[in-house]
Symmetry: C2
């Protein structure tokens, strides 16, 4: 299982030839990894409650005596608490964070399938698995629950909270919900999801719902809606990468396993209508295939909702009302080739918040990697953040 | 049934309020509409044959005595021979073409479900429906068959051949395959499909294949793979429109029928994981729903292959070898907000052909409508072409 990137550029026929030349780097290991169980009901923004939910989390490093070295890293859609596995460069020598000095905490999102309470968990009230009855969890719900976890760890202040994509949503909400607890926040490749982003989410959801094995969310553990989840992941992958990266890596090449897009494939049902794949298709199929091994369809649906309902202006009369309580210094990072959260949208969002009197500035990563650059181009991200 | 645009901006809850203010325009009607049956086997680029295929076509106007007033219009993926229905402004007073003067011909693509031989037709050799055994039809195959049809109509020369998207592919192939027969060609919003375009096609194909009702292409007439075809259409729709148009028309608004994206939908299975739709989602669902009423899944798959295997450079050693035989004057039109066939790609393609010694120039439509602008913004297109 690898979280190096939302979609490494490789196909089943062979990974990037350059990889062999890069010496294997040790994945930073957590000092501690475990569960925190809230001893009460978590009242959610949607009006429902989660009874004693679990937060799975990992800690890299130790809280110092002054308790002023805590950093919270927030993960994206399909990430986990193991930030060392998916953001290794940030925790490695020369990176942004140093577990010898910093106390880095990362908490798995509610709704996920990596240890925190999600659709696959048992509802403590009913004794049954939540399944499709799992409630809408907001970014704010996550942040409030994370606040309780940090209380339990003795962490009253964060010198930095950071994350990309949904991780950035959490980082900003931290500065709004706990203004006294955050000194600095780095909010990467995110703004409230645009209509195009909402459209992409909707079609991913449909792909899962249309899989007959989804069974209205009551699918059997040995028969999950794999085809729908794979297709959802592949749709998402288009938005994580850029057209120019695809063009450079795959172009119009036939699939590297030797399939012929101009040929008739007698091996396949519908061979005349389907034909051999292009290389980009082989790549996408590989990504879909990898994803179903590591993620759960209902968890995916849950986090899509968390992502798309996030809008810090929702319910506020003005940006000033929404943002003027923020005390932290904010850095927004846009990615030049990101079309899921376009850099203009991130910059506009940053300037809206700055106009509310907040200390906020905007930086941009110039890269062909698209939205995924915050995972795929870690060295460049570290340079920018330093 | 409407072909006005690949995806009119309206939802089930009500069409654009401005529409009422626009006087209803009469749809130009064909002078003649009928079938032409080739009296021999059509040898295809893929090496297979079609036995006596039918071409369904429509004619607007009459061939004059000098036989110098013929224009061929080529349609896009889901279009039909009835160009008056999907490009009415081009055939209306003040438009580019005048059926009082011009003899406008439009031929339904092979593989389609609007009258020409396609996967739903009976193979004259076997007496059985082609279904998924329908062969790969190239753009060139279409052009050669269209040439035979025009022969039968006494049309030896075309003063103009034009089309957008797959229609533009046919227009260019006409100038390459029948260089002596074409004076001028307008090639709109097209270039060989990029890696991103191939990716979008692949996911549309997967959506159909993953529908259990597809049954390997042997689906029952009363049980077609509607969910898969609808999802395919919705994925395509993202690439036909632009992010800025979606943002302007839908933004982050809840669906206009009153659904609540922040709410829990007790009416739906998986209500907690699914929730109410945003407006863009309602629009996309409406588009998918409309499409399954008018199109066939296997025909869709057939034309996706026709589209993605088109590359006039494929099999040639150089652009000069591929293009220097062209005698027609070519106009390429890019659309500023098109991300399926980005304007830079269309321009680059035009200049590659010009560098091969062809009379070719490039124009650009400035619009927010995305790829679909050649159907959605007809008045602007006419101005540019005139």
């Amino acid at each position: 299982m690898s979280f190096m990137s939302e979609g490494e550029i490789s196909t089943e026929a062979g990974a990037d030839a350059n990889k062999a030349a890069v010496p294997a780097r040790r994945t930073p290991q957590p000092t501690y990894e475990g569960d925190f169980v809230l001893d009460e009901h978590l009242l959610l923004d949607c009006g429902r409650t989660l009874a004693g939910p679990t937060l799975h989390y990992a800690v890299y490093g130790r809280l110092n005596a002054a308790r002023d070295n805590a950093v919270l890293v927030c993960h994206a859609l399909s990430g986990s608490a193991q930030v060392g596995a998916w953001w290794p460069e940030l925790l490695s020598p020369g990176g942004l964070l140093n577990p010898e000095i910093d106390c880095v905490v990362c908490v798995n999102l509610l709704g996920s399938c990596y240890g925190s309470t999600g659709p696959g968990s048992v509802d403590r009230e009913t004794g049954e698995v939540y399944g499709p009855d799992f409630p809408l969890i907001s970014i704010g719900d996550n942040v409030r629950a994370q606040g309780r976890l940090l209380d339990s760890l003795g962490i009253t202040r964060l010198r930095l909270v950071l994350g990309g994509s949904i991780g950035g949503m959490q980082a900003l909400d931290w500065t709004m919900i706990h203004p006294q607890r955050v000194e600095q926040a780095a909010i990467i490749a995110v703004a409230p999801l645009s209509a195009m982003g909402l459209a992409l989410n909707h079609l991913q959801r449909k792909a899962i719902q249309d899989d007959p094995d989804w069974a209205g969310g009551h699918y059997l553990p040995h028969r999950p809606p794999d085809r729908g989840l794979a297709l959802a992941r592949q749709i998402a992958m288009l938005s994580y990468k850029s057209a120019s990266l695809f063009e450079e890596r795959f172009g119009r090449n036939p699939n590297r396993n030797g399939e012929d897009p101009w040929g008739f494939d007698n091996q396949k049902e519908g061979g005349g209508l389907i034909g051999g794949r292009f290389d980009i298709a082989g790549y996408l199929d590989h990504q879909g295939h990898r994803f179903i091994d590591r993620f759960d369809a209902n968890a995916y649906l849950a986090i899509l909702r968390t992502m798309e309902t996030w809008d810090p202006l929702h319910g506020h009369r003005s940006p000033t009302e929404a943002f003027s309580g923020i005390r932290a210094r904010l850095s927004f990072i846009g990615i030049s080739s990101d079309w899921l959260f376009p850099p203009e949208a991130v910059r506009h969002f940053a300037y809206t918040i700055r106009a509310a009197g907040v200390h906020a500035h905007y930086l941009e990563m110039t890269t062909d990697h698209g939205h995924d650059a915050f995972l795929a181009e870690q060295v460049e991200l570290v340079k920018l953040l330093q």
